[in-house]
């Protein structure tokens, strides 16, 4: 029954369960018609399998009681307890779901539904190069630019990192990765799937003008009874507990990269420019069925990051001391009720973010402190109005109140578009401010999905009310009370899509929409920013065609983004008071992407994607267009994993145009500092050399006892030992140029045990 969407690389999950023990022989059937259901995902006891065309599936597990979950975009998710004491045959009745907004029906097999959209299971992601961390796969997905080494930034189809947003079960989180980018900040063991929408996402998501990354936490019942893992970077542990019908899963991770290196050598000598941070994270996940089809889920996630480093110099004026401390926590409660004709869902969430950053370059200081309370509520209802019409609507409240303090140079932190020369100390004209700001976004959204024969349409809209405040319109002067800045803004974002099924396996689709996001609270200082900043906006248009014939899928996409009202620096010699930032920035992104996917063909799953992109920005109408700081004209990524018996082997190839940089074309001597200062060439007028890296990962599973399984793995990154350029660097008088290169080879070996 190859008629409905099973997203992206889901087919990889159809690999046979390997545990010894009783075997569950199941068959999925439609509750009403009793026709078999193929292409659905069955999760049980940490195993994921897919039902075949005849609706059957098999999984072997140790004896015990499990929660079996059946899910697919075209089904109402169903969970039921299963006790295995011996081989069991089970028929499971499932109900078809109404067509979800933005993910249309009548798409056969494996390819993404929206143009450029990718969904991948965490299990597969862990088996591919990325250090065994599921969310690291995002950096290898089509549409995501190759990140600089040591960076935690995500650049999606030419959008700046702060223009895209990461959600965990619909809750926005501060960052996807820990400082340094080695690991995911939202953990690993409890991640269920990863979903990337690079542009033109639906009206249920807001406050982003780039792309959206959704991480779905796993059903806690699918987590192993316990799992421990350790490698060069860190160690983690996870486990679950079942109390009656309530399932609780928890995971924690602690880095030890720095101490591990210290055992052998001085980390400052090892790689003075490579950040060696410390990180830890923890997650607690609870799922409690309250009644038939009524489920309460809740979770708490937290992450701690620290990075202390000193870049020693022969001249104290250029010695760099940097300290970063970042803490974040989120808690969420969701009540969901599934109905025959849709679902109701209500979510409450709360979070706390704290960031401290201290930088000292010689005598020049820079300090930033921010402490934010964030929270929100979401309510969504989906209702099938008719056989070919489904309405999804909801309310989305998102609020932040932040206390901030900053001291130092205006040019620290560096913003997108700054004429930044790597290694140059910041300007030594300094100031200080402390202030607070709040951002409230209350939105309503609705999407109507319609099917007319081969044509499927989604018509949606999101209406936001923004309440933006900053504590001072002008800089503080002694104890004089100041006026604050308050704004109430209204934005209306129409969004929609059209999809036409040309043949059984070929579809064409167009998506378009308007998007807004609020200015960052950190930009509202009366000394360093502009208190009265409002919202930035963008228009997205994507179009593409998909061809699918399991196990293959091909997709061609073109995309465009027009960005407006972007917050950018006021480049005036003497800007107006408290207006160091303007909203005169604009941007334009156009590109095309070809993606070929292979899903579970003789155990092989993977994709090959080529992206051609041009992302340009303009900081003011009087300025010339320039390349976006992270523009990558060509990007090629090939990722594949081969699952065979006890072995899993994965590989990744990445080829990308180097990022733009501003070259130094001369220098002069500054007598006050005693150092040379650069004369800059055209803004982002040159590029770093092309990046290429090949990475491999191998894992061998073994059985420790009847109930305990283990695995050892080894991942080697940059297998070809290529010295990839990450930054342009210069000698002291800027007469000679070179490149700061990333680590030639990085090997990560580890072991995992689980029950």
């Amino acid at each position: 029954m190859k008629r409905l969407a099973v997203l992206a690389v889901l087919g990889a999950l159809a690999t046979p369960a390997r545990a010894d023990g009783p075997t569950l022989h199941g068959v999925l059937v439609d509750r009403a018609s009793h026709q078999p259901i193929g292409g659905a995902v069955i999760q049980i006891g940490g195993e994921l399998v897919a039902s075949g065309d005849d609706g059957t599936f098999e999984v072997s597990l140790p004896a015990g009681t499990y929660t079996l979950t059946v899910s697919a975009p075209f089904l109402v998710t169903r969970a039921q307890p299963v006790t295995l004491t011996g081989d069991v045959a089970l028929t499971i009745e499932v109900d078809p779901a109404a067509a979800p907004s933005g993910e249309q029906i009548e798409i056969s097999d494996v390819a993404p539904t929206a143009v450029g959209e990718t969904r991948i299971s965490a299990r597969l992601a862990r088996e591919l190069p990325g250090g065994g961390d599921a969310a690291k796969i995002v950096q290898s997905l089509p549409a995501v630019a190759r990140p600089p080494a040591g960076s935690s930034d995500i650049v999606i189809w030419g959008a700046a990192p702060n223009e895209s947003r990461v959600f965990v079960d619909g809750v926005p989180v501060m960052a996807l990765y820990h400082v340094g980018g080695y690991r995911s900040a939202v953990g690993n063991d409890l991640i269920g799937d990863i979903h990337l929408t690079p542009a033109a996402f639906g009206p249920d998501r807001g406050r982003a003008i780039g792309g959206v990354i959704d991480l779905g936490l796993a059903d806690p019942a699918s987590v192993p009874a316990w799992r421990v893992q350790a490698d060069v970077l860190d160690a983690s542990a996870a486990g679950k507990l079942e109390l009656g019908g309530v399932t609780i899963a928890a995971a924690a991770r602690q880095s030890w990269l720095g101490p591990a290196i210290d055992l052998v050598t001085d980390r400052k000598r090892l790689a003075p420019n490579a950040p060696i941070p410390s990180w830890s994270d923890g997650q607690l996940l609870v799922r409690a069925p309250l009644a038939d089809r009524l489920v309460l889920t809740g979770w708490l996630i937290g992450a701690l990051d620290a990075l202390d480093r000193t870049l020693a110099s022969d001249d104290p004026a250029t010695q760099v001391d940097e300290n970063t401390d970042q803490r974040t926590a989120r808690a969420q409660l969701t009540l969901r009720r599934d109905r025959d004709d849709g679902f109701d869902s209500a979510t409450l969430w709360l979070g706390r973010d704290r960031t401290t950053y201290d930088l000292q370059v010689g005598l020049i200081p820079a300090r930033q402190r921010s402490a934010s309370w964030v929270g929100g509520a979401r309510g969504t209802q989906q209702r099938r109005l008719a056989a070919a019409a489904t309405l999804t609507y909801g309310l989305d409240l998102d609020a932040e109140t932040a206390e901030l303090a900053r001291a130092g140079s205006l040019t620290i932190p560096v913003r997108e578009g700054d004429l930044f020369i790597f290694g140059e100390p910041p300007g030594d004209d300094v100031n200080a401010d402390r202030w607070h700001a709040s951002t409230i976004d209350a939105a309503s959204h609705a999407a109507l999905d319609l099917r007319l024969g081969r044509l499927t349409a989604t018509i949606g809209d999101r209406f936001d009310v923004w309440a933006l405040t900053a504590s001072r319109l002008t800089p503080r002067v002694g104890a004089l009370p100041g006026l604050g800045a308050q704004q109430l803004l209204f934005t209306d974002d129409p969004r929609g899509s059209l999809q036409y099924q040309l043949t059984a396996g070929v579809t064409a689709r167009v998506d378009a929409g308007r998007y807004h996001q609020a200015r960052a609270a950190s930009d509202t200082s009366a000394v360093f920013g502009t208190p009265g900043l409002g919202v930035e906006q963008a228009w997205h248009v994507t179009a593409g065609g998909q061809w699918r014939r399991a196990p293959f899928a091909l997709e061609a996409a073109v995309y465009a983004r027009w960005l407006d009202d972007l917050v950018s620096r006021d480049l005036a010699v003497t800007p107006p008071l408290a207006q160091n930032l303007t909203q005169q920035g604009t941007g334009r992104v156009i590109g095309a992407q070809l993606t070929a996917r292979l899903v579970d063909w003789r155990g092989v799953t993977g994709w090959l994607a080529y992206t051609l992109s041009r992302s340009q920005r303009k900081d003011a109408p009087t300025q010339d267009d320039r390349f976006f700081d992270h523009d990558q004209t060509h990007g090629l990524v090939a990722v594949a994993g081969w699952d065979h018996g006890p072995w899993t082997v994965g590989g990744r190839l990445r080829l990308a145009t180097g990022e733009p940089r501003t070259a130094v074309i001369g220098a002069f001597f500054d007598s006050r500092s005693g150092r040379f200062e650069p004369i800059r060439g055209a803004h982002n007028g040159v590029r770093l050399p092309t990046f290429f890296a090949a990475d491999v990962r191998g894992e061998r599973r073994f059985r420790v006892s009847d109930h305990v399984h283990g695995a050892v793995y080894l991942e080697i990154q940059n297998l070809t030992d290529r010295a990839n350029a990450e930054e342009l660097i210069y000698n002291a008088d800027f007469a000679a140029k070179g490149y700061l290169t990333s680590l030639p080879v990085l090997a990560i070996g580890g072991v995992r045990l689980e029950r």
Binding site: A230, D231, V232, A260, I261, L263, V264, A271, P272, A274, S313, D314, D315, P316, A317, T318, L363, I364, A407, L410, P425, G427, D428, D429, V430, A432, P475, V477, G478, L480, L571, V573, T574, P575, P576, L577, A578, N580, F668, F669, D670, S671, S673, G674, E677, P678, I679, R680, L714, I729, N731, A732, D733, K737, G738, L740, T741, P744, L746, I748
Partner: protein
Amino acid sequence: MTRAIGLVLALAGCDAALDQRLAILDQPRVLAVIAEPAEAQPGQAVTYAVVVGGPDGAIEGGAATPRWAFCAAPKPPTEDNAVSTACLDAGNLVPLGAQATVTAALPSNGCLQFGPETPPGNFRPRDADPTGGYYQPVRVDVDLPGDPLLAFGLSRITCHLATAPSNVAFMYDMSYAANHNPTLDPIVVGPVRAHHDVTLTASWPAAAAEPYVFYDPASQTLVTRREAMRVSWFATGGAIDVDASAVDERDPTTSVSTIWHTPDAGTATLWQVLRDSRGGIAVQRAQVDVAP
């Protein structure tokens, strides 16, 4: 895992080596631009001198007559350099003449152009440096044959506080003392032999590190600080352990040392350039006979 760590350790360490050192003069170079007095009010006369060195020692007199100019272009707050890029454009320069030293009155609008004063219309005051200072850029071109040198001196201007509470600004005006150039004791080097290590010491009187009143923009109060000192080391040959040595403002130390790995036998020239954190400069030079 141990092997994996070993791989990490063996293969990491990654930046291309580019010489970040300035201590050995392998080509002509401006070492300092000295303003006397080190800090002055707008309209006050200041004398400027340039110190140039090269592989053969000091470069003075007719070999390199410097051309002087004030730069009239303030730098935007987004500029990381000490002076505006516009100071590279002759159209923004006020020529002061071509001679070894030049004396000129600081522009009377210095605190408006480069300081915290703003024109009518509610504009942003310029930020001070970490010591509270504002500076008039002084451009000097040294036209050595085939090797033109470009440098900027920064002449500290005494300005009123524009962004402070009025009582704090008044107290600042009453208590602030303009900076003076520090003094540096003569270089003392004993007999020197080629390819030996020699300890170089730079010392200065305790009074050279002056106390000064500083307006702290974070607390918006006046605090008394003491100048930090930094010595740059130069030689015409051999090698010096560090480019510069510094003494923090909380440290009462009045001397610093480093090691000079002497060159081949012959004559070598040493310089010590002492900078206080408020822009004052002192220079000492010595010629040294390096015995075989």
